[in-house]
């Protein structure tokens, strides 16, 4: 049995260990996000050929689709962290869930705005109440609800646990957003990239898309680690390990 994985995770869930781990990894994640993001933008905006029916307008896909993936991915991750926080009361899980919410909300907002711009050019409308657009808007409201609930409590851990509950319940919306284009007749087109079966996009266009996907993941890691570290310091203030860090800062 691979016993070291749960053991390592257990160790990592201790705030001082995670604080150091995140501190080491964060600069690498930022650098990777920046480099891959620039490569993907260059590939998508300059190297990729124009689309046969949308011309150059389709290039917003290189922002819109990776952000849409992130909005769902972060919600799923926040839901899992919320589940762990509710059952096992692990402090780090609460911190990760609550630190993910604003990042996910930002990605959802970008998805809606870029989708709106794209829709105006291609469909001829900024907004329409079809299943995909509506469920993505509900996703944004869920994120905002989690953030608001978290901050409406005096005690942060109490707030985190209550908001985690909303985050967990809201997870049913994630498959609805993903499958909305298959379940209902929508103005929004179906999925281009499929895990099962062939994708319907030319290779010269797919690589910047996938590169941007990795870049957004790296950005999420960097942003999450930064937020989680700050939250951990605030939650654990007064503990020995935080005092040591504070003294180290003062001495410098």
């Amino acid at each position: 049995m691979a016993n070291w994985i749960p053991l390592w995770l257990h160790k990592l869930s201790s705030p001082p260990v995670f604080y150091r781990f995140a501190g080491t990894l964060r600069p690498w994640a930022i650098a990777l996000a920046l480099v891959l993001g620039l490569v993907a933008l260059y590939g998508g905006l300059v190297l990729a050929p124009p689309d046969y029916q949308q011309g150059d307008d389709y290039r917003i896909i290189f922002i819109h689709v990776p952000c849409a993936w992130m909005s769902l991915f972060i919600y799923a991750l926040m839901g899992i962290a919320a589940f762990i926080a509710l059952v096992w009361r692990i402090k780090l899980a609460e911190v990760v869930a609550m630190a993910s919410a604003p990042i996910g909300a930002a990605f959802t907002f970008i998805t809606l705005v870029t989708g709106s711009l794209w829709g105006e050019r291609m469909w001829g409308t900024w907004w329409t109440w079809d299943a995909r657009l509506t469920s993505e808007l509900v996703l944004l409201f869920l994120y905002l609800g989690v953030i608001a609930l978290y901050h409406s409590f005096e005690d942060r851990r109490q707030g985190a646990r209550t908001a985690a509950f909303l985050a967990l319940i809201g997870i049913v919306n994630v498959p609805i957003v993903h499958f909305s284009v298959n379940w209902w007749n929508t103005l929004h087109q179906g999925s281009t990239i499929r895990l099962l079966g062939p994708s319907t996009i030319a290779p010269s266009m797919i690589w910047p898309l996938l590169t941007m996907m990795i870049a957004t993941k790296c950005y999420y890691v960097a942003s999450l680690f930064g937020r989680a570290r700050a939250d951990l310091l605030a939650l654990e203030s007064g503990k020995d390990w935080v005092r040591q860090i504070a003294e180290g800062e003062v001495r410098r």
Partner: protein, 156 residues
Amino acid sequence: MNPTRQRRLTLVIAILAAVIVAAALIVYALQQNMNYLFTPSQVQAGDATHYKTFRLGGMVKQGSIQRSSDSLKVTFTVVDAGGAMPVEYTGILPDLFRENQSVIATGHLDGARFVATEVLAKHDETYMPKELKDAMAKAHAGKHIDESVNQDKQQL
């Protein structure tokens, strides 16, 4: 696992299961009810008679677009696999609007005609360079010719 965690785990899973069942039922119920659009054959079968205004979706029939010379009035025919419906619209059409393009028109029935107040163009999930599309179209056309030649041979 200690009893407290066991209890919390059961409770959280039970609530989550209840929410999933509720959501699944809502999705199932809306599936019949939340149609974004009707196709021409559905309209002709009388599926849209309950609605004063509704959305009509389908392909613009080749060669059916007629523009008025002195106004923004356009008439065209929207078709699907089993039906066709004439549409009338006054206004600016989206860039993607053209023959053989999927469109969604919002409006009401006026006799057999559909009077649209908004026309949206739908695009598919396929992205490729123009050269590739042309090459594929050529290959496809070639195949058609081959097939018709074969059919001719069979008939002979």
